[in-house]
């Protein structure tokens, strides 16, 4: 698809002049105007657009908040409160940023599970997928650093606990941790560097998103059948079809987003973070933000400090290699009857780990965390390779167009139509 020649024709003298010097209008026209997109995409495919919206909201509100934030242990908490109380629109700007982080992760997780369900990580989209995992990793680090800046009790002790993970590294762990802290405990130097990097990372994410979209435009979008585009018939131009569809879903998403901002802004936060950081007193329950809970549950499920950290890191790192762990020739789980229940078991596993991450790691909660942690890895390392080899998939449609116009039974067509 990268070979497709541009059909852009400058319409007037200025655009012709511009096109010869910097063909930026051509680039936009090719990438977001006529870009051929599978016609059978369902609404789950709008989450890419939604995520772009999220990133934009976070960067814009973040730049604004940085104008009022003071990165100093004595003033950080008060400066956030000053923003909330005295700055014009400050409370809304801050709540949008705070809720925005949750919304960003919600959309990212939907996007990722969509990719897992429809096999969007498989050849030829491995690089596209890997870029996505890198973005997820960067998002996790950025969100964590941003949460710490509030310098409430949860912020402070989250930084303490997470930076202490590095002490699990043999021999050099202690020095690395002190290097991260800039001292012998979490303090002002730590807060300052967290702020600096929290401001930098979103722009790196934006650049990675650029690469992600570039890679997408080289190989083209996957689609619910997993059958690659064969003819022009199979696609529609990005504008107006997908622009309007994505736009509609972005607004639906904004409705949910604004409900939280205006009516439940603190629902997703933790009350302890409204207590200013106190290095002498740890809160009774340290819980990360909801979007980290599954990883937190994995960390605590392992009784050994070092292996707990390794397991948590592996939980994300394993995503890098799933294009090669999945041995199936078929992309979409829709046509994989044997794998399908395992997919949903994996979804349940992630939800359960999220639930367990918020509970005290004792008794049966701990036992459940261990079972689900085990399945998390078994799913990728055992189920994915083995089921792909022994499974007999359902017959695929010959083409995307066939799946849409349906030469088979009318009920089938109706079902497809409802999904797209």
């Amino acid at each position: 698809m990268s070979e497709h020649s541009s059909s852009y024709k400058p319409s007037n003298a200025f655009t012709r002049w511009m096109d010869e010097r910097l063909p930026i209008i051509r680039l936009v026209y090719d990438s977001f105007g006529v870009f051929p997109t599978p016609r059978n995409l369902n609404y789950l495919w709008t989450f890419g657009g939604i995520l772009t919206f999220c990133l934009l909201v976070q960067i814009v509100t973040g730049i604004v908040i940085a104008m009022h934030f003071v990165a100093h242990g004595d003033h950080a908490f008060a400066s956030v409160e000053h923003l909330m109380r005295d700055v014009n629109w400050g409370d809304l700007i801050r709540y949008t940023h705070a809720v925005g982080a949750s919304m960003f992760f919600f959309a990212a997780y939907v996007h990722i599970f969509r990719g897992l369900y429809y096999g969007s990580y498989k050849s030829p989209r491995e690089i596209l997928w890997i870029l996505g995992v890198i973005i997820l990793l960067m998002m996790i680090i950025t969100a964590f650093m941003g949460y710490s800046l509030v310098w409430g009790q949860m912020s402070f002790w989250a930084v303490t606990v997470i930076t202490n993970l590095f002490t699990a590294i043999p021999i050099v762990g202690e020095s690395i941790t002190q290097w991260i802290w800039g001292g012998y405990s979490v303090g002002d130097p730590t807060l300052n560097r967290l702020f600096s990097l929290h401001y930098l990372f979103p722009f790196i994410i934006a650049a990675l998103v650029g690469l992600h979209i570039w890679a997408l435009h080289v190989v083209g979008s996957n689609n619910p059948t997993g059958v690659e585009v064969k003819t022009k018939e199979d696609t529609l131009s990005f504008f107006p079809y997908f622009v309007i569809k994505d736009g509609f879903m972005v607004i639906m998403f904004a409705l949910l987003f604004s409900w939280f901002v205006f009516y439940a802004p603190n629902y997703l936060g933790h009350s302890d973070n409204y207590i200013e950081a106190n290095p002498l007193q740890t809160p009774p329950h340290i819980v990360p933000e909801w979007y980290f809970l599954p990883f937190y549950a994995i960390l605590r499920a392992i009784p050994d400090k070092l292996f707990g950290v390794i397991a948590m890191v592996l939980a994300i790192v394993v995503l890098f290699v799933i294009p090669w762990l999945d041995t199936s020739k078929i992309k979409s789980v829709k046509y994989r009857p044997m794998f399908k229940p395992f997919f949903w078991l994996f979804v349940i596993t992630c939800l359960a780990l999220g639930y367990l991450g918020a509970k005290a790691p004792e008794g049966y909660y701990l036992l459940a965390s261990r079972l689900f942690t085990a399945y998390y890895f078994i799913h990728f390392l055992v189920v994915m390779p083995v089921v792909g080899l022994i499974e007999k998939p359902k017959a695929l449609p010959d083409s995307i167009t066939e799946s849409v116009t349906g030469k088979s039974s009318p009920e089938e067509t109706a079902k497809e139509g409802a999904q797209s």
Binding site: V60, V64, M67, H82, D86, V87, N88, G90
Partner: protein, 176 residues
């Protein structure tokens, strides 16, 4: 054929309507992002200050801060008042009578910022340079102000500005 046209028209109308409605919302949501840079509520609360004049003796001047700017308050001597009033008809760049610049002749209240490029003129302390006209002298580019704070010589285009103030009592003023 005509129904196709109608469809086309309806489609275009909906696209344009949705697009413009979205643009209005995007525009409106920009306002908070701009307005957050305006002075915040705590800054606005400091927009006016009260100053007790009793400690200032004749011939003395004090400098106070108001909205982050220096305010010159000078209790003028009879000589200074006379010299300011007698110069009312002199050739000036920014002609103003002394009467229009004060509420009580002995109290001169000025924003102490040179109208040329924002330096702070000298002349508050008795030992300072007062310039050729006995008032203030701006060391940056040599503007001379008289005992009414009017520009008499040098590059400054305007007289020193008089801030809005009122006498709350005989010995107290409120600036702003």
């Amino acid at each position: 054929m005509s129904s196709d046209h109608n469809d086309e028209g309806r489609r275009d109308f909906l696209m344009v309507a949705a697009g413009s409605f979205a643009a209005v919302g995007a525009g409106a949501s920009l306002w908070p992002l701009v307005d957050q840079m305006n002075p915040d509520a705590s800054a606005k609360a400091l927009a006016s200050i009260e100053i007790d004049l009793t400690p200032i003796k004749e011939g003395q001047a004090v400098t106070v801060m108001w909205r982050g700017k220096p305010i010159f308050i000078r209790k003028r001597t009879a000589d200074e008042i006379k010299s300011a009033e007698s110069a009312d008809n002199a050739d000036m760049r920014d002609p103003q009578t002394d009467e229009t610049r004060v509420q009580k002749p002995e109290w001169l209240v000025l924003i102490g910022i040179c109208t040329h490029l924002g330096c702070i003129p000298r002349g508050q302390a008795n030992g300072d340079v007062h310039g050729d006209f006995g008032g203030w002298f701006c060391p940056c580019h040599g503007s001379h102000y008289d005992t009414s704070g009017r520009i008499r010589k040098g590059p400054a285009p305007k007289n020193l500005e008089v801030p809005p103030y009122t006498f709350v009592s005989d010995t107290k003023i409120k600036i702003g």
